[in-house]
Amino acid sequence: MPADRVRLRVSNQKAYIWDIDDIATVRAKHNICGILTGTLPHLSQQNVFLGIPLVLMPEEVVMLVEKELAVIIDDPRAHHHPSADSFQRYNDERIESINLQISLTGAKEVQESTHAGRAMSDEAQRKRKAREDKKRAAALALAASGSEPLFDPTPAAAAPPAIADTPAAIPAYTVTVPASSSSLPWYAPSQSVYTTIEGARRAGVWVYPETPHERAKCGVFRGLCESGYFMGGGIRFGGDYLVYPGDPLRYHSHFVASVHDSPTSILRPMEIVAHGRLGTATKKAHLLCGWDEAKKEVAYFSIEWAGFG
C-alpha cells in the first residue's frame, strides 16, 4: 500500500476517514471537507459539533481515488480474528497499564489523605463521637417517653464501616474505548486495499458511479474542485453542491450548483425561477453545471434574480 495516500475505510458502500492526520491532509491539501458524523466524546449531547468518523460524499471518494490520492480499504475484511498469541500480548499490556494507573491514583490518594488529614484527626473523631452519643441519648429519651422513634439510630451507626470496606476491593480506573482500529495488532488492512475504483468495483466493495447521472456528478465535482473550490452538500439549498471559495470553516459559499447529465437534458423554466429565487434569497447565485460525457467537459451558467423595479 502506498504509504502517503489517504486511507478510506469502506463498509456498506460508505467511505469513512478515521485517522486525524488523514482528515487534516484531505482538508488542507485536497480541498475535501466531508462531513463529521460521530459523537464527540466530551460533548456527547449536542449536534452542533460532531466528531470522527468523517464521512465522504461518493463524488469525493471517486475523485480522491482517481487522482491517486487515496486508497479504498475494505474495512470489514481488514479486521481479523486475533491469534491467541498476539491477543495475550495485547491483554498483558492492557492489564499492565491499568495496574500502573491504579498504583498512580493510589499514591495520589495517600498523599492527599496525609495532607488533608483533618477529617481523621483525633479532635474531629472525638467530636463526631460526642455528636453520635448525643443523638443516641436523645433517641433513647424519645423511646422512653413512649412515642415511637421514626428512625432507628443503630443501623446508621453500623453503616460507615461497611462503606469503608469497598474502596479496598478495586479502585476506579479509566477505561478507554479505542476509536481507530489502527492500534489493534489484529487489524491488517494490507490484504484488502484497492487503489482503483475499477478494482474496488470488481470486488463489490465500491460501486459508485453506476448511472449517467452519477458519472455526471463525479465529473462536475472534479471540475469544480480542480478550479480550487471547496464543495459541500447542497440539499438544503435545492442543489447538489454548495460551492465555497475557500475552506467552509472560514468562508461563505457563493454558489449552489446543480448537475445536469448532458448538454441536451431538459431544463424547465420553473426550475430556473425556483433556483434564481432561492439562490438570491440566500445570497448565493445558482450554478447550472452541464456535463458533456463525450468531451468530459463541464459548462457552467449562473442565475441571479435581476430584480429590476
Binding site: P53, V55, A172, G233
Partner: protein, 463 residues
C-alpha cells in the same frame, strides 16, 4: 508565532479574542452555519455548547491574506484538537457488552447508567451449559445494533466481539469473552445488520443526542417490546355491535336501489315535494357530488406494485418529556421515516396514502387559550355536519320507519348537533392535519426533517 495563538483554547487567551472581534466585523449573515471549532472548550473542560462563529465572504487574492490564512489554520487546528479527544470513562460507570454478529445483537453483560432506561430489551436465550447438561433458557439484556453503536461511540459501552478462543481480563471483574472492538470496527460491522443503514443510524444518533427515546416501529423479534400497532387502537366490536352497524349500511344499499338515479346535470334535485325545507347544509351536501376526502380510495396506479416503497415508518419517537417505559412503550409522539436523499425521490401520492393508512387520527391542536372556560372541551373535528349525520344514522337502531321507507322521509334532515360553543380555527387544524408523519432525508450526513400532514379540507367548507 505567539504561544497563546498556537494553542487553540481561545476561551482564556485574550490575544485571540481580539482576532475574533476583527472577524466579526466581516460577517455577512449567512444561513449555512459557520462552525468555529476554536470556540470549543478543550477536552476536560465543562461541557458547554459553544456558539457558532462568523465567516469571511471570500479569501483575498492569492489564496487569502496573512491574517485569513492564520485564522484558518487556527480554526483547523482547533477542530483537529477536538477530534483527538479520547473516549475515557471510569471503570465504575462503564458498561460492558459482547457483540454477536450472527444474531446482530450485543449482549449487555454489565449495564450501568441512565441510557439503559430507554435502551435494550431482555431476550430469552439458551444459557451456555457448563457441565454438559441441557441448555437452560435464561433472560438476558440485549442491544440492537444502533443502540450498541451509539453507546460505543459515546464511550459508555466497552464492546467486545464474540470469540470462543480469547478472553479479556480486567482487574476487579470476571473475564470478558472476545476481543475488544474499536468504534471503527463497530461502524463497519454493526451498520448493515438488522436493517440498519448509515442514514438510519445518523438520524438515530442525532435524535438520541437531543434526548429523544427511540424504538423500532416493526419489532425485529417477538421479544422486542414495541408500541402497539395503531390498527388495534380502535376498540374491538362485539358481534351485536357489528350486526347493528351492518343493518344501516344494508339499508342504505336498498335505499340507493329505490331512490332515483343521480342526475349529474341537476345535482340539487329541487322540485316536487323536496324543495321545501332546504337549508344551506343540504344544498352544499347535494352539490358535492365528486367524492372527496381521504376515506375515498385512490385510483390504483400502474407501477404501484413494481417495487417496494422506501417510505416505511422505521422508528417510533418519544419526546424527552414523555414518560417512557421501555418494557411497555405507549403510542409514539412521532412516526419517523428515514430515506437516503441521494437515491429516493419525493414520495408519490400513493406512498403517502399508504403511510397515512397505518397512522392514527390526531386530535386537533388545542385552541389558543384566551380565557379558560370551565368545562369547555372542544369536540373533535369529526363532529362536522357531514360525519355527524352518518353518526346519527348509525346510532339509531335499524328498524325505524325512515330507514324502511326512505323515499317517504327523504325531505327530513336528521337533527343537527347543537351548535358548538367555539369551533377550532380551521386554518390551524388544516395546517396540522389529522395525521402526520416525519420524513428524515439524509444526504451523506446532513439530515433534513420534514413533516407531512394529511389535511382534511372537505371537513371545513369555507362559507
Amino acid at each position: 508565532m505567539d504561544d497563546s495563538l498556537e494553542r487553540p483554547s481561545t476561551l482564556t487567551s485574550p490575544g485571540s479574542a481580539d482576532l475574533r472581534d476583527q472577524d466579526d466585523e466581516n460577517s455577512s449573515g449567512d444561513e449555512d452555519g459557520a462552525l468555529d471549532w476554536s470556540k470549543l472548550p478543550p477536552a476536560p473542560g465543562r461541557p458547554v455548547i459553544p456558539k457558532r462563529g462568523e465567516k469571511d465572504f471570500e479569501p483575498s487574492v492569492e489564496g487569502g491574506s496573512g491574517l485569513q490564512l492564520h485564522v484558518l489554520d487556527r480554526a483547523r487546528a482547533a477542530m483537529l484538537e477536538a477530534l483527538k479527544a479520547d473516549r475515557n470513562t471510569s471503570s465504575k460507570s462503564i458498561s460492558y457488552g459482547i457483540w454477536y454478529p450472527s444474531i446482530s445483537r450485543a449482549h449487555a453483560t454489565v449495564a450501568r447508567g441512565v441510557h439503559f432506561g430507554s435502551m435494550g430489551h431482555s431476550v430469552p436465550r439458551p444459557a451456555p451449559s457448563n457441565a454438559g447438561e441441557g441448555s437452560k433458557i435464561q433472560k438476558r439484556l440485549e442491544l440492537l445494533p444502533e443502540e450498541a453503536l451509539y453507546l460505543v461511540e459515546r464511550g459508555t459501552l466497552f464492546c467486545t466481539r464474540e470469540s470462543p478462543t480469547v478472553k479479556l481480563n480486567a482487574p476487579g471483574m470476571e473475564d470478558i469473552e472476545g476481543a475488544p472492538m474499536t468504534v471503527q470496527q463497530a461502524f463497519a460491522e454493526m451498520i448493515g445488520s438488522e436493517g440498519l443503514t448509515l442514514e438510519k443510524y445518523q438520524v438515530y444518533a442525532y435524535l438520541k443526542r437531543l434526548g429523544f427515546s427511540i424504538t423500532r416501529t416493526d419489532p425485529p423479534t417477538s421479544s422486542y417490546p414495541s408500541a402497539q400497532p395503531f390498527a388495534s387502537v380502535t376498540p374491538p366490536t362485539s358481534l351485536l355491535q357489528r350486526l347493528f352497524s351492518w343493518i344501516p349500511s344494508c339499508m342504505a344499499r336498498i335505499r340507493q336501489l329505490f331512490s332515483r338515479r343521480f342526475d349529474w346535470w341537476k345535482p340539487l334535485r329541487i322540485g316536487g315535494f323536496f324543495h321545501h325545507n332546504q337549508n344551506m347544509n343540504s344544498v352544499f351536501k347535494s352539490l358535492r357530488f365528486i367524492p372527496s376526502g381521504h376515506s375515498v380510495a385512490l385510483q390504483p396506479s400502474k407501477n404501484l406494485a413494481a417495487q417496494a416503497s422506501p417510505y416505511k415508518i422505521f422508528y417510533n419517537l418519544y419526546k424527552p418529556s414523555t414518560p417512557f417505559r421501555k418494557t411497555a412503550p405507549g403510542p409514539p409522539d412521532f412516526s419517523l421515516v428515514i430515506i437516503n436523499a441521494r437515491t429516493t425521490p419525493m414520495p408519490s401520492l400513493h406512498e403517502l396514502a399508504a403511510l397515512f393508512d397505518v397512522l392514527p387520527e390526531m386530535p386537533p391542536p388545542p385552541p389558543r387559550q384566551r380565557r379558560p372556560l370551565p368545562g369547555d372541551k372542544t369536540p373533535a373535528p369529526a363532529a362536522t355536519p357531514k360525519q355527524a349525520n352518518e353518526l346519527a344514522t348509525t346510532a339509531q337502531p335499524g328498524f325505524t320507519l325512515s330507514t324502511l321507507f326512505p323515499w317517504a322521509f327523504n325531505n327530513k334532515e336528521p337533527s343537527q348537533p347543537p351548535p358548538q360553543v367555539r369551533r377550532p380555527n380551521p386554518f390551524v387544524v388544516l395546517k396540522s392535519g389529522k395525521k402526520s408523519v416525519v420524513v428524515a432525508a439524509v444526504d451523506t450526513g446532513s439530515i433534513s426533517f420534514f413533516r407531512f400532514g394529511q389535511g382534511a379540507f372537505e371537513e371545513f367548507p369555507v362559507v
